[in-house]
Symmetry: C2
Subunit: 477 residues, 2 copies
């Protein structure tokens, strides 16, 4: 099930996979591998659209039928149990702390028959996608909280944490620039086959966002207000640009020669020339609050050059309690980031930690959640009009709606709170659901053929057959 | 070399040790074990005076001659190499980050022939004091940065970190109370022989300070502004008192029925009734800056009821650069914390992170350093008058002077920056010095007989014969 096969057979299978891709109507920048898997993973959620769906050829019978396993990372909590320290921290704070400091903050990476995952407990894991067995695990010097980027046989991850020192606390109070990241921070390049650390570059601020890759270069936005470019093979620096403020969980994205990255304090989405590091344009909306722009990852419709970002806005007390609204907005990357539309998703209680939803774009529709209202939405990509909304159940006071959805086989799949749902993408009607244990932070389901791969806050990586969630998926393509 | 021996023999040896104690003139609340070691460790640095010196009987020939070994903890850096990420962080920040997130922040604990140490890399270690071999290591869910407390066969440590979330950053800017501690926090009670976790209590804020023990109860000051009391055997709560603000590295101390603890925001030293948790008195001085009171551990002269604290004060820009002064002050615990005297140690550059020195009291003299000036001082306990000062060499821009000194065998021993010194306690003259590798954070030397035990920021525990530092020590007693 690994990538390497004979060239001739590889081409044949690739052609088959191409037909299947067209037939299924899914989009995946990660091309099917020699046989049955993406061969690389270039940015958060696997492609600019954040649609982590990958077709496989008909010969990949196991993946099509759906494999099932679960892998417990170091420090994993019992799947049926509560969040860590829930007795003391309560239902609002405990899931957040567990997401930030124990398990997997975001979804996994699928490349060449291997599931790669980053854990807050300072490990990168490589798991056999079919068997669920550990291939390697490599320690890091702080939490790793993103999607591993895989290209040219190198796995690249960023380490860092969400914290501030007391010196930074005092600076913020004096309206001075602040640096995010408390412990060690930096980038690791690891051998994809063995996990051996090929290179390590320290950074002054945290390197929490998933990196982005293009043409031999990896890019990262950091807690000390920079975007950096390094050679993926060696870690040698190519350029760095100082933007100020910090990026936390806003992973980079790409459109043509533009690197797109969200930063906080000030709150902007920046477009940066991939070759030179020069800022091409920046954009924001009125009323962005907290770490709005720097915490959330912009999505890109590659075919149209539309960039989608969303952020909490307009915080205010309602009946003495803090509330926020959420705003989704579309920018035209071909017109200097001109705003095409802005849509408010509605007011709700100020959610803890990560306060926005990662958008996914597919077939002219934007799918995005809001942790303030714990709802999941479909919006028309051209107008921003809300097409439907889905009330996420079981969200608790921590809220849900953070992770991107995945469109595969004519079905929308989301992992929110403790549940995984199959939704009708036209109406938001529930087609099926399971509760696989633990809870999902900012997790997008990764779907390869008929198998869904998930990481969760409790420190588990799971493979689930789509059929175990929704039996009718094969009839909808 | 362990504690358990026949009762009769134990009593005999205890008597011998008592004679030796008297002969050597050292003070140690940790009583000599059945033979040759303290049997318990009740507060930071081993006794209220912070003088971690323990005599052994003449039969403990190995300890008297001095044993030598070094033990590398998980993630230990090469002893001859630089601080972690020094290439990027520089000489001011890299040693601090290494002290806070990699190795041992403070000195070790010596009980029953075992060296216990807490590591920022989330482990508690028990090492055979004679051979340097690992007895056990037990993981924790965050950094452990204090002295393990050992009593009734239980090792008690507090876990937590120095960080603040962005929500707390924003609160501080609005002059609202803030909580310190980013990741998981809480207290572990472990079996002293096996390291097995007997109980664990989560806390909302960090539990960085070393705990204090009295009569079956352990006490901790936390990042959410409380002092807690728990049963050492079970972790069952006895009382809690809300003081507000946070305690960071101010470890608790004891005098009669008074528990003494420093807190920040507001900055006070509190005296709390050990039985009820009621605040008996609180005290501060003018101009305390940063985390002054909550970061530093008050020392107590048990014979007189004098409490010594020091803190940075009066921050101001000098030639455009931030500077601070340091103030040492004495309080009368028998008179509601009445201030007896205040002494300024002098202005210097604002040091990174831990900004004060831990005081030690012995023979009517206070020994204390100042990281602002990187000097080490002796003060008259009655008047606060400076008797001498010693210029600490090799301190670099991170400064030195944080860890307490240790008075043993008529000699003052300090571990500051990369060096260990033997000083003449009457003049501050250097009698001997070694550079054992790595660097010392807030480390006090622990001296048992003729052996010095040290932890360092690089993640090593070391045993050094006193003779390797200063050959003449045996002639001074």
């Amino acid at each position: 099930m690994r990538a390497a096969r004979g060239v001739t057979k590889g081409i044949t299978v690739l052609a088959m996979a191409g037909l299947l891709l067209a037939a299924c109507g899914t989009t995946g920048a990660g091309k099917p591998a020699a046989g049955d898997f993406p061969t690389q993973w270039l940015m958060y959620a696997g492609n600019p659209e954040h649609n982590a769906a990958f077709d496989v050829p008909a010969t990949a019978t196991k993946l099509l039928k759906g494999v099932q396993w679960k892998f417990a990372e170091a420090n994993a909590l019992p799947l049926a149990g509560p969040a860590a320290d829930q007795d003391v921290l309560g239902l609002r704070a405990a899931p957040v702390k567990t997401t930030q400091f124990l398990g997997n903050s975001v979804g996994v990476t699928a490349v060449g028959g291997v599931i790669y995952a980053e854990s807050d407990s300072n490990y990168v894991y490589a798991i056999d996608a079919i068997t669920g067995k550990l291939i390697w695990k490599t320690p890091t010097n702080n939490a790793v909280m993103g999607n591993p980027i895989v290209a040219q046989g190198v796995v690249v991850v960023g380490a860092g944490d969400v914290g501030f020192s007391f010196a930074q606390v005092m600076k913020y109070a004096k309206h001075q620039p602040v640096l995010r990241g408390l412990g060690f921070a930096g980038i690791y390049g690891m051998d994809a086959k063995t996990g051996k650390v090929l290179w390590h570059v320290a950074t002054v601020g945290e390197a929490m966002p998933s990196l982005a890759y293009k043409a031999g270069t990896v890019y990262e936005g950091t807690g000390d207000g920079h975007v950096y470019a390094w050679n993926i093979k060696t870690g040698a620096p190519r350029w760095k640009t100082r933007l100020g403020g910090f990026s936390s969980m806003s992973s980079g994205n790409l459109y043509k020669n533009q690197l797109l990255w969200g930063f906080t304090n000030p709150n902007f989405v920046y477009s940066i020339d991939v070759a030179t590091g020069k800022v091409l344009w920046k954009q924001t909306v009125v009323g962005v609050a907290n770490t709005g722009m720097g915490d959330n990852s912009p999505a890109v419709d590659s075919t149209k050059g539309i960039v989608i970002q969303d952020s909490i806005v307009d915080p205010k007390l309602v009946n003495g309690k803090p509330t926020v609204d959420s705003e989704v907005f579309a920018m035209d990357a071909n017109a200097g980031g001109k705003i095409l539309w802005q849509t408010r998703l509605g007011r709700g209680p100020n959610p803890p930690a990560y306060k926005a939803g990662v958008a996914m774009v597919h077939g002219g529709v934007i799918y995005v959640g809001s942790p303030a209202t714990s709802q999941f939405f479909a919006l028309d990509e051209t107008t921003g009009k809300v097409l439907w909304k889905f009330e996420i159940p079981d969200h608790g006071p921590a809220g849900a709606g953070r992770g991107a959805g995945t469109f595969a086989h004519g079905t929308l799949w989301i992992s929110q709170g403790p549940n995984v749902f199959a939704l009708d993408p036209k109406s938001g009607t529930v087609l099926g659901h399971v509760r696989p244990g633990g809870r999902f932070g900012i997790v997008n389901p990764v779907i390869v053929g008929g198998t869904m791969y998930l990481g969760n806050s409790w420190g588990w990586i799971q493979a689930l057959p789509l059929s175990s969630i929704y039996k009718g998926w094969q009839t909808r393509a």
